[in-house]
Symmetry: C2
Subunit: 329 residues, 2 copies
């Protein structure tokens, strides 16, 4: 691994995403992580929770080790991890400041105005938001060239994707820096720059487009929620884990590629597109009761043990991608 | 493996899907496969092509063996595989008749009328169509209770999904038989019964819903085709290989499950749903040129070597599912 050149990352807010991000950053050899959160039991919480993330922090470490709270103690004593009770001290020496706070526009605007007044003017400012564009968050900042979205997929210490979404005012070199930071050779992470701000960015737009049709098909009693999940896992999931959607149809079209595919399947495709369900999610929509009850019945509550097993399997899928990510023959 | 009870399958049409289906059926211990196709070089074609599918025919066989044309010769000499030059002889002793002919309504209607006049009245009639419902295909049949769709995903000898789609007239016991046939313990295949006929069935409706938004995002220059594929492979692909979409959001909602998730993300989701791209595929749509040229540039033509490598990886993903398919703790 090429060593990261001494970045010092202040993490504002360490819920589930923040904790996973801490593990991601600490998996780099040459980083220092400063953690700030308003919860009063921050140190006890880190000692208890962070070890669950550290073994998965990167493809670079051994996945067989099982870190305990002593790993966190040693990170603290070696000066690689610092716990802060004020925003000021957390940001004081940071080269990157990344927030995972509440998804609330007023909170984020106020946070960035504060950060701007205390942080080094060269520090990179990243928000892990899934829904609030950088251009909305930065309205109260004097310098609007520094902030951009770094949207991870849950859990970020395992899931390779980071959507980097600049505002129109973000400086191109800030975008480059973020992309390069996550592109360290040997890392499983794959940053992608989104060229325009758009609600849901790209990953969630694709997911929500599929989800809407999935909910519609359950509403229409075409299939149960559980059977729809089986269909997805038994076909599109593994296909899209190995090939993107455009690459899949390039292959599906044979010698003529995706052009031939669109030609051949165009009739069915248009019929499907014209008939896609157009349901709403806000309000007391009738389909929600059906989807929620069928999903609860199928899966119940996720226990920590089940989540752990699911994450182990997710890691297995990602490892296969690492082994043969770029098939270009 | 529980032995299949002496089913004898007539395969009408052996293009790519038919060949893959032949391998799937032959992977069962106790089956006989009768192949009929109008191509004049049928025997030479089977000897050359079928070996590529046989090693992957089932999770039951060894994946390390590399069958050659001698495997096909031995299947022929042992009487497990028969080549026919007439529909009549192919169907004469069949307990299952499965067609993979052209996606053309007139062809299929005429085929089933012929089959009905020559096959045993108890034989099960399956169509591998991706787009023409059984109720449309059976209009010229006297007995409309026997035909149903068995829609595989490409390539069926690897991909676990089979969508079983009866017409309203199909007898429930015919549906049960097909579901059980593909549910042999130890098989990687996962049949799912679709309760109502609908264009695209379920798998392709979900795929096309996502594809429409993918094309729209490329049209809008939010992202390139290649970057969109990276996003999908780095997030939703591996997620949906491990969890269905409803299960994912059940997990994502924490203790409150998918209900809490819809509550929390409802605002962003509605904004995304309201803004999903509504493009068309028929005709000279402007987006098609952009999608086709970006996809061609990113991936070029698929060589047999590249397809083989992609299929190897697909098999790896499916194997992980087999290992830990049902996590119910």
């Amino acid at each position: 691994m090429a060593a990261t050149k001494g970045e010092r990352i202040a993490l504002i807010g360490v819920g589930t995403i923040g904790m996973s991000m801490a593990a991601l950053h600490l998996a780099r050899e040459n980083t220092i992580v400063d953690v700030f959160d308003t919860r009063p039991d921050l140190e006890e919480y880190l000692l208890r929770t962070l070890p669950n993330y550290l073994s998965d922090g990167s493809s670079l470490g051994s996945d067989d080790s099982s870190p305990t709270s002593s790993s966190v103690v040693s990170l603290l004593s070696s000066g690689r991890l610092h716990i802060h009770t004020s925003l000021e001290s957390a940001c004081a020496s940071a080269t990157i400041i990344q927030e995972q706070g509440p998804e609330n526009l007023a909170f984020k605007r106020s946070l960035w105005a504060q950060v701007e007044s205390i942080a080094d003017p060269s520090a990179h400012l990243w928000t892990s938001t899934s829904g609030i564009a950088a251009s909305a968050q930065q309205s109260e900042m004097r310098d609007k060239t520094r902030l951009l979205v770094v949207h991870p997929f849950n859990p970020p210490h395992i899931m390779p994707l980071l959507e980097i979404v600049p505002s129109p005012a973000t400086a191109p070199e800030r975008v480059d820096f973020a992309r390069k930071y996550f592109s360290v050779p040997g890392s499983r992470h794959r940053p992608v720059v989104i060229k325009k701000e758009i609600p849901g960015f790209v990953g969630n737009r694709l997911a929500f487009a599929l989800l809407r049709e999935a909910c519609y098909l359950v509403q229409q009693d075409v299939v149960t929620a559980k059977d729809l999940d089986t269909i997805l896992m038994a076909s599109l999931g593994p296909r899209w884990a190995g090939n993107g959607v455009f690459e899949s149809y390039q292959q599906g079209g044979g010698e003529g590629g995706i052009g031939a595919f669109l030609e051949k399947l165009g009739g069915t495709m248009q019929e499907v597109w014209d008939g896609l369900g157009e349901i709403n999610v806000l309000g007391n929509e009738e389909w929600k009761e059906k989807v929620i009850s069928q999903t609860n019945e199928a899966y119940g509550t996720f226990t920590p043990e089940k989540i752990k097993k699911k994450e182990e399997r997710l890691k297995d899928f990602v490892k296969i991608q690492e082994k043969q990510y770029d098939i270009t023959i």
